[in-house]
């Protein structure tokens, strides 16, 4: 275990009884003392604080926005050119076969013209950086932002908590991202804050220097409404919210169209293309993909996990679950996975093969719990 990396909040996790596990090369808390279910429910009802410092943060830097955006648009299908200042967008790095190298958040900096702020998955970051650098034209470079931690404050109470320290954040809309200050006593700590997250709830993600993150975390945790949340509840929250987990619901083989991420591909990009892997993606937009990511609701109590075979009622394999477990807010099992397009309509009855037994389930709309974003 000694070769696992530690985030700057490692001591905070241990002091709070975090049960530490290896995740993407980092020693991370899967849960704290009260457990996954209560952490999950607390986030949906009040606010939870997540350490996501293991994720990769980087800047893509060039002479001006148009040049940097054009360079990134070669690698992702989202419209980056028309991203407004101080706005964030979800997109994917696409490989030559139209599969997903990683999914990421891209923010156009409010002041720094010609800088895009990227947040990528922990387990993918080195590969992402290598891939991006390999394809960058002269004059644009990628700068890793590894001296900064990243924390997420998620839940309906997040706005009132953040208001005490960063009043500017109150009026931000979902997917706004700006440089700001976190007021702590007499000190103004420099932060980058976005109104986003991965729980389906309103909330913020705060990037702050490694040596300041503990003070910020402690200040947030001083509020009665805020508790620490581990990776276990992070997973159950995002699953109920219908959000993809890289390496499970999306990977090098799946395309964004199969994954139901067409919404993240700008109209201009659908028409013009101009990105690596576009052949498959544009074809699937035109012809519809042969398989699709869907929500799956087991009708009994037993959870169906990643890798579970999905069959039609005739007992033929039609797909596989890619994420599945218990949804604490739903109060029962929830899952997502890929099925042949003919079986992808909501309420289609299917069966799941769990421990050799066929369990009743149906295709479900997602999210399983309504999103609560500040639009």
């Amino acid at each position: 275990m000694s070769d696992l990396l530690k985030t700057p909040l490692y001591d905070l996790h241990v002091e709070n009884g975090g049960r530490m596990v290896g995740f993407a090369g980092y020693d991370m808390p899967v849960q704290y003392k009260t457990g996954i279910v209560s952490e999950h429910i607390h986030t949906r009802e009040k606010a939870g604080l997540f350490d996501v410092s293991h994720m990769g943060q980087a800047f893509l830097i060039g002479p001006d926005h148009e040049t940097v955006a054009a360079a990134l648009e070669k690698l992702v299908p989202a419209d980056i050119l028309n991203l407004g200042k101080g706005q964030q967008r979800y997109t994917q790095l696409i490989n030559e076969d139209g599969g997903i190298i990683d999914d990421l958040m891209v923010t156009r900096q409010q002041d720094d013209e010609g800088t895009l702020y990227l947040v990528v998955n922990a387990g993918c970051k080195q590969g992402d950086y290598d891939w991006i650098r390999k394809h960058l034209p002269h004059g644009i470079h990628l700068e890793e932002h590894s001296d900064h931690a990243l924390i997420a404050l998620q839940g309906p109470a997040a706005v009132d908590v953040i208001a005490k320290h960063c009043p500017q954040a109150v009026d931000m809309a979902f997917m706004d991202g700006i440089a700001s200050q976190f007021k702590l006593g007499d000190e103004d700590i420099e932060i980058h804050i976005s109104r986003s997250g991965y729980t389906g709830e309103d909330g913020y993600e705060i990037s702050v220097a490694n040596d300041k993150v503990r003070a910020v975390a402690d200040a947030l945790l001083a509020n009665d409404d805020v508790i620490l949340i581990g990776l276990g509840a992070r997973d159950s929250l995002r699953l109920e919210a219908g959000l993809c987990l890289y390496g499970h619901d999306i990977d090098m083989e799946t395309s964004p169209i199969e994954a139901g991420l067409l919404w993240s591909i700008g109209k201009r990009r659908r028409q013009e293309g101009g990105f690596i892997g576009q052949e498959r993606i544009l074809r699937e937009i035109a012809e519809k993909p042969s398989r699709r990511r869907v929500g799956i609701k087991p009708l009994g109590r037993a959870p169906a996990r990643d890798g579970t075979e999905i069959q039609n009622l005739e007992g033929e394999k039609i797909g596989e679950i890619t994420s599945g477990g218990f949804g604490p807010s739903v109060g029962g099992p929830v899952a997502m996975g890929y099925v042949q397009a003919a079986f992808a309509s909501p309420e289609t009855k299917v069966q799941l093969i769990v421990r050799g037994k066929a369990l009743e389930a149906e295709i479900s709309r997602m999210p399983f719990v309504p999103h609560n974003f500040k639009r």
Binding site: V30, Q31, G35, I36, V37, S38, H40, G232, S236, R301, A302, P303, R305, G325, F326, P328, P333, R355
Partner: protein, 122 residues
């Protein structure tokens, strides 16, 4: 629990005559976290030491109830299927899993006593 026997798979066994009541230890439920699903064997069936005798699923993962002894299942605690969370609350009392009629009482000798189990999980 002082009189119970314990397996390395963190089950406890309390014996009354030739009937053994089986559950999971407090340590086991702590390790599992929130239990959200329990599957029990059929009454009248048999379980064999070391083999799967049920399923316990937490939010994170599924695990097996490994039979600590062999015998015929004479009763199961159906309330666990409706309220799996009781395994977290009362693992060593009301949230027992199954009762079996022992087919080989000498299997009990291979289990740990209370002190040995405490040392095992320390």
């Amino acid at each position: 629990m002082k009189n119970a026997k314990f397996s390395e798979d963190h089950e406890w066994v309390k014996v009354d005559g030739d009937i053994a009541t089986i559950g999971i230890t407090n340590h086991a439920q702590e390790q599992l976290g929130d239990v959200v699903f329990v599957e029990l064997p059929e009454v009248g069936g048999t379980i064999a030491k070391g083999e799967d005798a049920g399923v316990i699923e937490s939010v994170k993962a599924a695990s097996e109830l490994v039979a600590p002894v062999s015998g015929e299942v004479v009763e199961t605690n159906g309330s666990l299927e409706d309220e799996p969370g009781s395994v977290n609350e009362n693992p060593e009392t009301t949230a027992w899993f199954i009762k079996v009629k022992l087919s080989d009482a000498s299997e009990l000798d291979g289990l740990m006593d209370y002190d040995a189990y405490q040392a095992f999980i320390a």
